[in-house]
Symmetry: C2
Subunit: 119 residues, 2 copies
DNA sequence: CCTTGACCTGGAGCGCGCTCCAGGGATTTC
DNA sequence: GAAATCCCTGGAGCGCGCTCCAGGTCAAGG
C-alpha cells in the first residue's frame, strides 16, 4: 500500500500542508496514520477522501457541513443520510449555477450597452 | 425626482443600511446627497448603480475591483477601460460556472455510486 | 555522526466583507 | 412640543477558512 508524506499528500490533493492539518483537527479528515516519530503518513484512501472533500469545497460546501458529512461517514449505517446530504448540496450547487448564469446575463446586457455607446 | 430614505434604499437595493454606508465609505457608491440635518437621501440613479453593484457582487467581483470600476465611472473618458473590466469579469464568471458544473458532475457520480450501493 | 531539511504542536494572526455598538442628533407622529 | 423612530459617526468586532509562527523533534544524505 502506497503511503505519502505530508508534502506529497499536499501535492497530490491540492491542499496545503497547513490545510490538511486543519482538516484533521476539525474532524474532516480522520486521524492520519503516523510514523514512530509522529510524522503523518497519508494513504491512498486518505487521498481519495480528500478528492471528494475538494469537490465539495469547490462547490461551496461550508466546513461545518463537511464535518457533519465526515462524521456520518464513520458510521456504516448512515448511507441514506449521507446521500441525502449530498443531494441537498447538489440542489444548492444547481441554484448557485442558475443564479450565476442569470446575473451573467445582466452583466452581458450591460456590456452590450457599453458597446452600443461606442466603447 | 424620487428620493429614498436609507431604510427605503436598503429595501429596494437589497443591501443593508450598514452595507450602503460601507460602500459609500469605500468609494463604491459616490457620496450620497443629504438633508439639511445630514440624513442620506438616495436617488433613482443611486439605486440603478446599486443594482449593477449587486450583479457584480453576486457574480463574485471583489470589493477592490468594484472600487476600481467605480473610480473609472467618475471619468467620462474611460468607457473602454470599464467595458474591458466587465468583460474580464465576465470571463471569470464563465470560468467559475464551468468549474462549478464539472465539480457538480463529480458530485453526481458520487451520488449515483451511493444509489448503486443501495442507498 | 552530523548536517540539512521536512515535520511536529498549540496558538496567534489575517483577509474579506460586512455587522454591530455607543453616544448623540434629526424627523415624524400625535 | 413630546415621544417614538430613524439616522448619524467612528471604530470595534465577527465569521469563515485558512495561514503563519516559534520553538522544538525526526529523518535521510554524505
Amino acid at each position: 500500500m502506497t503511503t505519502y508524506s505530508p508534502a506529497q499528500a499536499a501535492e497530490v490533493s491540492g491542499f496545503s500542508i497547513d490545510t490538511l492539518r486543519y482538516y484533521e483537527r476539525e474532524g474532516i479528515l480522520r486521524p492520519v496514520a503516523r510514523t514512530s516519530g509522529g510524522h503523518r503518513t497519508y494513504t491512498d484512501a486518505d487521498l481519495g477522501w480528500l478528492d471528494l472533500v475538494h469537490c465539495l469545497r469547490d462547490t461551496g460546501m461550508p466546513i461545518a457541513d463537511l464535518k457533519r458529512y465526515a462524521e456520518l461517514s464513520l458510521d456504516r449505517t448512515t448511507l441514506s443520510a449521507r446521500v441525502a446530504l449530498l443531494e441537498e448540496h447538489d440542489r444548492r450547487v444547481q441554484e448557485s449555477i442558475d443564479a450565476l448564469r442569470s446575473q451573467q446575463d445582466k452583466l452581458r446586457e450591460k456590456i452590450a450597452w457599453y458597446h452600443s455607446q461606442g466603447a
